[in-house]
């Protein structure tokens, strides 16, 4: 049946990453805000030491920057640890997790093309979902995208259909 919520992970987080601020939303939903440079180390800690599995990452275009949330799932306790960080809009860069975590490969490519965030150290940062004729500097999930590119027409593939 239901396993107990693991408090010790939270204590360790407090000791290891003093800058992290933890918010417990519901018994098995925890959000942790960390500075951008800590994300890599934090994710490595969750994946390698705490046996968390990377579920997915979410990118959000906010007024004060782009927010990236890595959702880690700790299956023995059924808890979600979501690591949040804010990337400033004038410097859209963050260290990629894909070098030790293959699960991060596709989703970082997706966030890169939809929001234009540069994942430093990603082995293969090419578009995942958009067409190959899609202009690389257009990011369709950005807030300003719909207003600026109302009349955008994407060229059809030059190859015969």
């Amino acid at each position: 049946m239901k396993k107990e919520y693991s408090k010790e992970i939270l204590d360790e987080i407090g000791a290891k990453f003093p800058q992290a601020s933890v918010k417990i939303h519901a018994p098995r939903r925890t959000y942790i805000r960390v500075p951008r440079d800590d994300v890599y180390g934090f994710a490595k800690f969750l994946f390698e030491e705490k046996e968390c599995r990377l579920s997915i990452a979410t990118g959000i275009d906010k007024r004060d920057g782009m927010e990236i949330i890595y959702h880690f799932s700790h299956d023995p306790s059924g808890t979600y640890y979501s690591i949040k960080t804010l990337v400033p809009k004038d410097d859209l860069k963050i260290k990629s997790l894909a070098d030790f975590l293959p699960a991060a490969n596709w989703i970082e490519r997706e966030i890169h093309e939809l929001l234009g965030i540069d994942f430093v150290g990603h082995p293969n940062l090419i578009p995942l979902l958009t067409a190959e004729t899609w202009p690389g500097d257009l990011h369709p999930l950005r807030r300003d995208y719909a207003d600026e590119h109302k009349d955008l027409k994407v060229e059809k593939s030059t190859e015969e259909r």
């Binding site: 799932s73 293959p102 596709w106 979902l129």
Partner: protein, 391 residues
């Protein structure tokens, strides 16, 4: 010498858009490149322009096979954000529909897998008993697919008492037939020879790629949202998590077949203990905040993340379907096997591209393997094995 065998942009077996570049040396697959994005519909963007109630219907249309799983995960996410729980009766109804859907989705896969290896009897058989289940869906919800049963704060329709006996009757039939299939499929020496030891995904790779559902459980990695993070009625019923350690296609088939009998158990218990009462709580507004909803869909965990600013529309809605995590693991699972096996291995994760994908024409002067060729290769191999066993 390395050669490239392009498969796609339609999945040769499941007629869904994606492109596999098999890099082969002779008959052996040495590497695989995957290209998706042929049918990307931008649900996440569209969801931000719709009201909370409309999004339920939008996400229902993400997938045609497991059309209950996305709205289920979505309403759980919104309920998490708004701190509401559905009344007990609604929870039981949602669990029942979720489990019935698992049976029909797993049967679809077993039937297709039978077709791929040239066992059309399995295909016809399994689908014959899948059909009455769709009739039950129609009886309860007026639709064979796209049930629209989920609603933020409850269920949209009730299961009427006169439907109970019909569902029970179907489950009796199914229980008997499911045991028969499981035995028939697993005891057949040719099917065993075809599936055993093929497309092995190790537990380490399963963890690293973050695979989910039967793909993970067939590799000895026990992850099941229904056990780990029970929602609705799942912690009020008794059932077993099916895990096998082998990691090959046979293990995945076993997980799926045995899970169907667990689903039958769950539905039976739910029907027996179904509480009376209202089927929805009124949710007037979604406060600012965020919520995560997880549901164990037939293919693995469906994950929805919503963020609200207190208005009538989500500010951000992230959708993650299980195939998004399962498909990349093909790269390691297919390496080292023959092209005839590749067809099967690539289908073993029960991929569902409805979640991601435009059209493209591939004309690079190289030999293109069509779906028919792949099927023929696969059938020929089974035929060879069959002859060997007959001797």
């Amino acid at each position: 010498m390395k050669r490239i065998v392009p498969i796609g942009p339609y999945h040769p077996l499941q007629e869904e858009p994606e492109f596999f570049k098999l890099i082969v040396e002779g008959e052996k697959v040495v590497d695989l490149e995957i290209n998706i994005g042929y049918n990307h519909r931008g649900h996440e963007f569209v969801a931000q322009k719709m009201t909370w109630d409309q999004v339920t219907f939008l996400v229902e249309r993400i997938c045609g096979i497991c059309s209950d799983s996305h709205p289920y995960a979505y309403v759980l996410a919104v309920e998490d954000a708004a701190h509401v729980t559905a009344p007990p009766r609604a929870q039981y109804i949602r669990t029942i529909i979720g489990e019935l859907e698992r049976i029909h989705s797993h049967y679809l896969w077993v039937g297709l897998a039978g077709h791929f290896i040239g066992y059309n009897t399995v295909w016809m058989w399994v689908w014959r008993y899948r059909e009455p289940l769709l009739d039950i869906f129609e009886l309860i919800m007026g639709n064979r697919n796209h049930y629209a049963i989920n609603k933020v704060g409850g269920a949209r329709r009730d299961i009427l008492p006169e439907h109970y006996s019909k569902i029970e009757k179907y489950l009796d039939l199914l229980e008997e037939k499911n045991t028969m299939f499981t035995k028939a499929v697993l005891d057949d020496p040719v099917i065993r020879a075809r599936l055993e030891g093929v497309g092995i995904l190790s537990k380490e790779d399963a963890v690293a790629y973050g695979v989910l559902g039967p793909t993970a459980r067939g590799s000895g990695y026990a992850t099941d949202v229904r056990k780990d993070d029970p929602y609705d009625a799942y912690d009020k019923v008794d059932w077993n998590e099916i895990v096998f350690d082998e990691g090959d296609v046979l293990a995945k088939a076993k997980v799926r077949l045995l899970e169907c009998s667990e689903s039958i158990k769950i539905v039976r218990q739910c029907l027996r203990n179904m509480p009376d009462g209202p089927i929805e709580t009124r949710v007037d507004e979604i406060p600012p905040g965020e919520g995560i909803g997880r549901h164990e869909a037939p293919r693995g965990e469906v994950f929805h993340y919503v963020r609200s600013d207190g208005s009538n529309m989500p500010v951000r809605h992230k959708i993650r379907a299980p195939s998004f995590m399962n498909i990349p693991s093909n790269v390691v699972a297919v390496r080292g096997y023959s092209i005839a096996d590749a067809a099967l291995v690539l289908a073993a994760v029960d991929p569902c591209y409805c979640c991601t994908e435009r059209t493209v024409v591939l004309r690079n002067g190289k030999r293109e393997l069509t779906g028919k060729d792949m099927l023929r290769l696969s059938w020929r191999k089974t035929e060879r094995l069959r002859r060997r066993y007959r001797r």
